[in-house]
């Protein structure tokens, strides 16, 4: 087993283990912290794939900002282990669990079947198929990056820039608009509830 | 106690105001009735008048009468003309008469007082930091109240011996003496032991004992109390504690059935001295020296401090438990004590009833000195009669108990404070008996006892005693008892509650009194503890008039005296 492999397994275990522990930990604060561990693990996996930008964004946005807010809220509400326990809706969680397991099975089947079929790989990097898939990313080439049409996924910042602001401009704007709408909705909802509470 | 009864009242004019005072009363006392003060050193209401300190000088006058006709001479406005005595007179040597005019605040009186104070202080040493009297010293008080505030005396003060031994308990500081002669009069008139006198003249004048005699009678410390300055000091209390630190508690002397009223002075839980408290119906202002020394038993070495079960140190809970076990279903005897308070005797009587026990009571007797040490050396024998703990007059020896033990009828014996061995009960007889001993000090019986529950001395608890004149007198707790101990009433109440299985009996003195006062036949009917705390209550003792009380005629006591009307 080579060094990167070792690292891969280590970080994979970290992210998976963190995720599992997050699900099973009783205390919300522990859960949040395990989630951070999991996120950092995933970011490390990105690093192994040379996707520094993505890794850093993962840490910056999710681990650094979103989870701080989570913790902030958990602490402010002072949710203890009992609080987490009490919010159990058996039927709903059963259904959710069922769907999750179903999705997992489908995903695994797809992955298993997909890896059999080598023809789906892009032709020029076929030899890199299999174990060393990490190095199978295409080189960034100026032409492809510049015209932005046949954009290949690349870890470079520029590629992200082009992807987001040229090719996927519309989806980006739509997603941004949706988020804005959601935020406005949240503000209105929370405002309304406090107004009622006061009234 | 100044009687305010239906004696004749006369009207005198006190500083321009007409006031009513009992006829024939000493002017110093009469003025005090109306909130004014005539300062005095040598005068003492319970001693003869000597009139040698001159501090009580006042202006006095009587309505003038015509020598011939004896008719009153009137002023022009019709009021009687007052013939003022041209020189000041001593207040203590004057008894009130109708129409008398008195000035206690005039310029002449003030001048007299200032002059007298200055003279008294001429040779008085500046000893206050050392003097035990400081804080309750008449010289200090009157010097600030009536003195001129400074001295014009520039010469050297006389120096006299500082510690002359007058007797085993009294030390004289000659420098401080102002020659008021209170101590001399007390020895002559109250203690009937004429040993003190003045010798020499002028500034050499000195208090001393007659040759070959000393102030050794059992009342010698009263001279220290009545000494208005710090000249006579108690050898025991000398230099021990400054009086302003002392907390004073009203108490009753447990020495004998005389029931002297006392003040117990303590600081931080330690008693430093005991002094008499004035009660004109019981002890005037006196008490015995031996009674003053009783506080020493509080800290004595043979004091019981921890409960013992089978001679092992134990807890109060265990001791009470073992006691209840020893009482239940056994034939029980109770030996009560005349040293217990009325409340304790009442509870003990109830306990005896609950345990269906036979009751025994022992008396302690000695010589009667005819003043304040009575032949009955227990403070509360009459309390035992009243509460029903004893039906007959107790004897020195518990022969009936010995007989009962001989017949082997008793399995358990509750003993309160008494020593059975000392009372002609053989230790062999006690061998098969479980003894529960409640007491303050070790004795031969406590050493035999299976359970020892230490109790508190009369200085450490509240309660009441009935004295030889059937005076019910309450007393207060002066100092806290040893850590972990319960008052006797609490112990007894607990035992009663455990025996009956009901939580009825309260150890609170007021509720005990409520119970006691309920009985219609008892002399205690309708009384409460707060009633008897201050001056004492005369109880109806006619029920027991036939008993052979051992006390002889003494101060304020007539043997077999019929109780006076309320």
């Amino acid at each position: 087993m080579s060094g990167p492999d070792l690292l891969f397994y280590f970080f994979a275990t970290l992210s998976l283990g963190g995720g599992l522990l997050m699900v099973f930990s009783r205390h919300p604060v522990s859960a949040a912290l395990f989630m951070i561990v999991s996120l950092v693990g995933v970011a490390s996996l990105f690093v192994l794939l040379d996707a520094f930008f993505l890794a850093i964004l993962q840490v910056l946005v999710y681990a650094g900002a979103v989870m701080v807010l989570f913790l902030f809220i958990i602490m402010l509400l002072d949710v203890g282990p009992s609080g987490a326990k009490a919010s159990k809706v058996k039927l709903l969680s059963g259904v959710a669990g069922l769907i999750s397991v179903g999705l997992l099975v489908v995903l695994l089947l797809d992955l298993g079947l997909g890896s059999m079929d080598c023809s789906e790989c892009s032709a020029e990097n076929c030899d890199a198929c299999g174990e060393s898939a990490a190095f199978a990313w295409p080189e960034i080439r100026d032409e492809t990056a510049a015209n932005g049409n046949s954009l290949i996924f690349s870890p470079s910042v520029k590629a992200f820039g082009f992807g987001l602001l040229a090719k996927y401009m519309l989806p980006l704007q739509v997603a941004g608009f949706l988020l804005l709408a959601a935020m406005v909705g949240v503000i209105i909802l929370s405002k309304k509830s406090t107004a009622e509470g006061e009234g | 106690m100044i009687s305010k009864g239906k004696t004749d009242q006369v009207t005198i004019n006190l500083d321009g105001q007409d006031v009513e005072v009992p006829a024939g009363m000493n002017l110093v006392d009469a003025v005090a009735l109306h909130g004014k003060e005539i300062p005095h050193y040598c005068y003492h209401p319970q001693l003869s008048v000597a009139g040698n300190c001159r501090m009580c000088l006042i202006e006095m006058g009587t309505p003038m009468r015509d020598r011939g006709t004896g008719e009153a001479i009137l002023e022009e406005d019709g009021s009687p003309k007052i013939g003022w005595v041209p020189k000041p007179v001593i207040g203590c040597g004057t008894n009130v008469s109708p129409g008398m005019h008195v000035k206690t605040e005039s310029e002449m009186v003030t001048g007299c007082r200032e002059g007298i104070m200055e003279f008294l202080l001429v040779n008085h040493p500046l000893d206050c930091p050392i003097c035990d009297q400081a804080g309750e010293c008449r010289l200090q008080e009157f010097a600030t109240d009536y003195g001129r505030g400074y001295s014009r005396y520039k010469e050297r003060k006389n120096v006299k011996p500082k510690r002359t031994r007058l007797g085993p308990r009294v030390t004289l500081d000659d420098e401080r003496c102002i020659l008021c002669s209170r101590c001399i009069r007390f020895s002559q008139e109250v203690a009937k032991d004429d040993v003190l006198g003045f010798v020499d003249r002028g500034s050499f004048s000195t208090l001393t004992c007659f040759p070959g005699k000393e102030l050794a009678n059992n009342y010698s410390l009263n001279t220290v109390d009545i000494c208005p300055v710090g000249a006579l000091t108690s050898t025991d209390f000398r230099f021990k504690m400054r009086v302003w630190f002392l907390k004073e508690t009203l108490s009753i002397c447990p020495e004998s059935s005389a029931g002297c009223n006392t003040l117990v002075s303590s600081r931080e839980g330690e008693i430093h001295r005991i002094a008499p408290r004035r009660n004109d119906a019981v002890n005037d202002s006196w008490m015995t020296d031996s009674g003053r020394a009783l506080y020493k038993q509080v800290k004595s070495d043979d004091r019981l401090k921890t409960p013992l079960v089978d001679r092992e140190e134990s807890t109060m809970e265990d001791a009470l438990h073992s006691t209840v076990n020893a009482l239940q279903g056994k034939s029980v005897g109770v030996v009560g004590s005349c040293n217990s308070t009325v409340e304790e005797q009442y509870l003990l009587n109830r306990l005896a009833k609950e345990a269906k026990a036979k009751k025994y009571l022992r008396g302690h007797f000695g010589e009667d000195d005819g003043i304040l040490l009575s032949a009955d050396r227990t403070p509360n024998l009459r309390g035992a009669l009243i509460t029903g703990l004893a039906s007959s007059y107790p004897t020195e020896h518990l022969s009936s108990l010995a007989q009962a033990l001989k017949k082997d009828r008793l399995e358990t014996l509750i003993v309160v404070g008494e020593d059975l061995i000392d009372s002609k009960v053989d230790a062999e007889l006690l061998s098969g008996v479980q003894i529960i001993y409640l007491g303050t000090h070790e004795n031969a019986t406590s050493n035999l006892a299976r359970v020892v529950i230490p109790t508190l001395t009369s200085f450490e608890k509240s309660g009441s005693f009935v004295n030889r004149g059937f005076f019910l007198q309450g007393f207060q707790q002066a100092v806290p008892g040893p850590a972990g101990l319960l008052p006797d009433v609490s112990v007894l109440a607990r035992l009663i509650n455990e025996l009956t299985g009901e939580g009825e009996s309260s150890s609170d003195i007021d509720s005990i009194w409520k119970d006691m006062a309920r009985s219609s036949t008892s002399p205690l009917k309708g009384l409460s503890f707060s009633d008897c705390k201050k001056d004492g209550i005369q109880l109806d003792g006619s029920k027991w008039a036939d008993l052979a009380f051992v006390e002889k005629k003494a101060l304020h006591y007539q043997p077999n005296a019929k109780p006076k009307d309320g």
């Binding site: - | 206050c128 930091p129 050392i130 120096v159 006299k160 500082k162 510690r163």
Partner: protein, 181 residues
């Protein structure tokens, strides 16, 4: 009634509202302070100049003949606001000729320096001028017990003070003067 004058508060200018000029002024002040002379005292090496009426640790003093002045009148114990003073009174033995006329002296005299507040009431109240708050200010110890100054310690701290009153010699003087009785 005093007339209330309402002062108009001037609106802040733009530069004032950014606070930056003020911050710069503040920085200037602190910076200039760095080079001013230091005011601190290097304590164990340099001792402070105590004023004449400094109130340090309370001590007991002896008279010029080296005799105990305190007569344990306990006025200081009485007046002490934090109850730091504890005196066990005692008498001077009769055979001690030198101190015969005073009779009383403390058996034990304790001042709890953990309680003492250096108010000086004890010195103020002392009728014998036996207790003084002298210039000793450094009092330390490793245990609570060490911080209770006993009689020996108090006399060691206080030493002897010049004094006009020779109360011990009263008897001797009287014998010389002829007013002894």
């Amino acid at each position: 009634m005093a007339k209330t004058v309402v002062l108009e508060r001037k609106p802040l200018s733009l530069s004032e509202r950014t606070y930056l000029p003020q911050i710069v002024t503040g920085l200037k002040t602190t910076f200039s302070n760095m080079f001013k002379e230091k005011v601190t005292l290097q304590y164990p090496e340099e001792k402070p100049q105590l004023p004449q009426n400094y109130r340090g640790v309370p001590t007991l003093v002896k008279d010029p003949n080296g005799r105990e002045k305190c007569v344990s009148c306990q006025l200081c114990e009485f007046v002490c606001p934090p109850k730091a003073i504890r005196i066990t009174p005692g008498s001077v033995p009769e055979d001690e000729e030198d101190r015969e006329h005073v009779e009383k002296a403390p058996q034990e005299f304790e001042i709890n320096m953990l309680r003492c507040i250096y108010c000086g009431y004890c010195q103020e109240v002392c009728p014998e001028e036996a207790i003084f708050l002298l210039d000793e200010y450094s009092s330390s110890g490793y245990t609570r017990e060490e911080m209770i100054n006993n009689k020996a310690k108090l006399y060691e701290l206080g030493g002897t003070l010049p004094d006009k009153h020779y109360k011990w010699d009263k008897k001797k003087d009287a014998e010389e003067e002829g007013n002894a009785h």
